[in-house]
Symmetry: C2
Subunit: 232 residues, 2 copies
DNA sequence: CAACTGAAGAATGTATTCAATCGTTAGGTC
DNA sequence: GACCTAACGATTGAATACATTCTTCAGTTG
């Protein structure tokens, strides 16, 4: 790309570069949401965010609009943005869509997977086992590894749109799973599920991978909904 | 838009009234996209849009961000927004997700439908027949009625999130269906599909409504993809 | 004549400023 | 003392102004 360069320095900078301010704000906010530093119901004051990022409010508003599109925050006219909150019914609604997409992604990915994909998934699984077997259980590291496992499993399906939708559903769920008392998915049950999924993946039994993936999400949903409906 | 008015007049306007500028811009742009007045690849100049709506660029940018979130436009940094365009593979990706959601919505809606829902759907179907039997075929009116048919059919499922996702997929498809040479869905085949769907809906055969809905979308997809791949 | 350079014009990205609205609190009235 | 009212502070919504970058095109050079 022939950039019109005024000084030589910024050619290198462009590489991993000065992402736009809205993009940066989006990332920061989304991490805060997914890591639980912002909880459903919290109000987001534009000026605060802008100040903390050293920018004006304009690009922040764009980041918030993007998050709103993903359903993570809600705008109340003239009253600002708040972190979205779901009741049990709404959570079920989201989970239901997620199950559909996860089943489909699992099915398609299994059909198209290569041996390299199998190896990659196996590595992710090994990592999770390693984390679990450590003396002190690190739920954050486990969450990362868990995500990597599913990402790699589904990647071969080669359907950007499907994966984007799926990722969106998962983010929504992640935000709310925390409500039910910070339940990380039960690692032992999950490990068992993963093993069965992986087994079918190796055998390239696409329908089975789909079914098990769906069931896997269903487990999480059941536990969460029980908790949510308990406290209602 | 008389916005900065201190007089009393605008109190009344508020009732159904002066929605926020971004909202208005969003609606206007979306209609332009779905009605084909803007085609994939067209570039959207913020200043033009702002001028045509009598506002500044800031709220326009928010509307565009929202459209971007729905996949209808794409932002290229420092080069503005363009109407998104899909190749055949990407279109298939979108259709595939849509089929999943449509099947699910059909299934759930049929389980929960009441007699009032059946009547409402029947009315929509009658309207389509009336439009078709008219001397001159009005594809625009037909499209509206078609949408109403499906909306009413699915409404009873009572899953806002699912329906929102579904609506999004349909909008995406609507944008691209036009590429393949303005193919409206073939009304005769569609009418036949609708009759069969409605029949199963009346019998409350949920699985069948789901299956047929899926198939119905599949027909459209097949025709579109053939056209798209033809010209490639 | 093709290709590169550089400057002018246009459009985007962001900051700043102004306007309108919401929430709260102090003050008054019944 | 409770409730209503008015004004203030805080915050969002939108417009204007400024900075940066991209595109285009004329002029020049090899």
């Amino acid at each position: 790309m022939g950039y019109s360069v005024t000084s030589l320095g910024n050619i290198l900078e462009k590489h991993d570069g000065p992402v736009s301010v809205p993009e940066h704000a989006y990332t920061v906010l989304k991490n805060a949401l997914l890591e639980g530093r912002l909880s459903p119901g919290d109000t987001l004051i534009q000026e605060e965010i802008a100040a903390s990022l050293g920018s004006s409010r304009v690009p922040i508003r764009e980041a918030l609009k993007r998050l709103e599109g993903e359903g993570l925050v809600v705008q109340r006219p003239r009253r600002g943005y708040v972190v979205a909150s779901l009741n049990a019914d709404e959570a079920e609604d989201v989970f239901d869509v997620r199950m559909l997409l996860e089943e489909r992604a699992g099915f398609l990915a299994t059909q198209k997977r290569t041996q390299a994909d199998v190896d990659s998934v196996r590595k992710a699984m090994d990592e999770m086992v390693a984390i679990q077997s450590k003396g002190h259980y690190d739920s954050w590291a486990w969450g990362i590894a868990n995500r990597a496992f599913h990402d790699r499993l589904f990647a071969p399906c080669n359907r950007p749109h499907l994966l984007r939708m799926l990722s969106q559903q998962r983010d929504l769920v992640t935000l709310y799973v925390r409500i039910g008392g910070s339940i990380a998915p039960d690692p032992e049950t999950a490990a068992e599920d993963h093993l069965r999924i992986f087994d079918a993946y190796v055998r390239q039994d696409a329908a089975e991978v789909g079914r098990l993936s769906r069931e896997h999400v269903h487990h999480t949903m059941t536990r969460l909904l029980a908790k949510l409906r308990d406290r209602a």
